[in-house]
Symmetry: C2
Amino acid sequence: MPMSEFEQTKRNRVTRLPERAKYDEHTIFGIIDEALICHIGFVVDGKPFVIPSIHARDGNRLLLHGSSASRMLKHFKEGHDLCVTITLLDGLVLARSVFHHSMNYRSVVLFGNGRIVEERDQKMHGLKVLTEHLVPGRWEDARLPSEQELNATTLISMSIDEGTAKIRTGHPGDDDADYDLPVWAGVIPMRQQTLPPIDDERLTEGIAVPDYVVNYSR
Amino acid sequence: MPMSEFEQTKRNRVTRLPERAKYDEHTIFGIIDEALICHIGFVVDGKPFVIPSIHARDGNRLLLHGSSASRMLKHFKEGHDLCVTITLLDGLVLARSVFHHSMNYRSVVLFGNGRIVEERDQKMHGLKVLTEHLVPGRWEDARLPSEQELNATTLISMSIDEGTAKIRTGHPGDDDADYDLPVWAGVIPMRQQTLPPIDDERLTEGIAVPDYVVNYSR
């Protein structure tokens, strides 16, 4: 039994393949924390927009940020509804029949409203959480934001209280009659791969790649 | 000069960092074709929803599909506005300052309306395009959809005529004064990695992994 479980509402309840749905915090937080990007959905003049973005989780809040000049961020400030979806692709599932082809994946769909973080120390804390989500160890090493840079950044916080995870794992599921077909079936696993770091072309001579970059992995 | 360029409209024009924006067909189609998943945004009762999905491109049309029982697909059938966003993550960009940290990525945002593909042969063709997008060579090998399976599948086609690509590549861009800081800067490249295929646990003995799976890559 999960420690904490989100309430199932009309909006977050999974109606298609409900056996793939998870509502517990541990599962949902794990997917949010592993992913490097999210897709933010919002509505302007009745029309849908979906924008890729960096995110991070601070307790039960999702943090998003961007330039204070951003059209999207201005919209979030006004407290409009957001849907933030995060997807990790784990593999291609090749069934014997075309019909049962699928993907192994872990996804989270979150619904909420953004609120702007104005207070200076909270804003600095939020930027630290975002930076450390991206590359743990980086905050202590890089030059921290100046007051001017803080002002040029908008930080949005969204409470994670209505969410669903959907997960598919494992082998294909074929119709019984198809298991005898002379067709290969199985999974092509996939993952996000980190390649060796590339020095900036203007890097000062003698600065080594830090351990947290050398050992980087998700 | 690109062969064909989408018109810039109020909706697709990139206002933030417009130097990253591309409107040409070659760039947009290339990103669509490389990606394995997209994120579909739509509006229900004024609220945004974003769902991950498989997609494929057939000429200048984007194909989406799903179960005929799907709540989402029913909504698409009715011709509502869609925003389909596709994002490929290419690397983490570590600047000397926290402020200039970024990602290298290629993304496409498409706006349109879905129309349902009803005609049997067009539907079969669309499923072939989707299957071959996922794993080229698979359609000739797997069991093709039965009439019952065709009926259980909804295929949606969306014209790709309003789209934008946004691309960031290369090294970090720091403030001039920061280049002397004793901080490592550079890029951690990322890519989608394919791992060796895993046989289905119920695979009939003697069926070899086909070449198009052994040699699979994006």
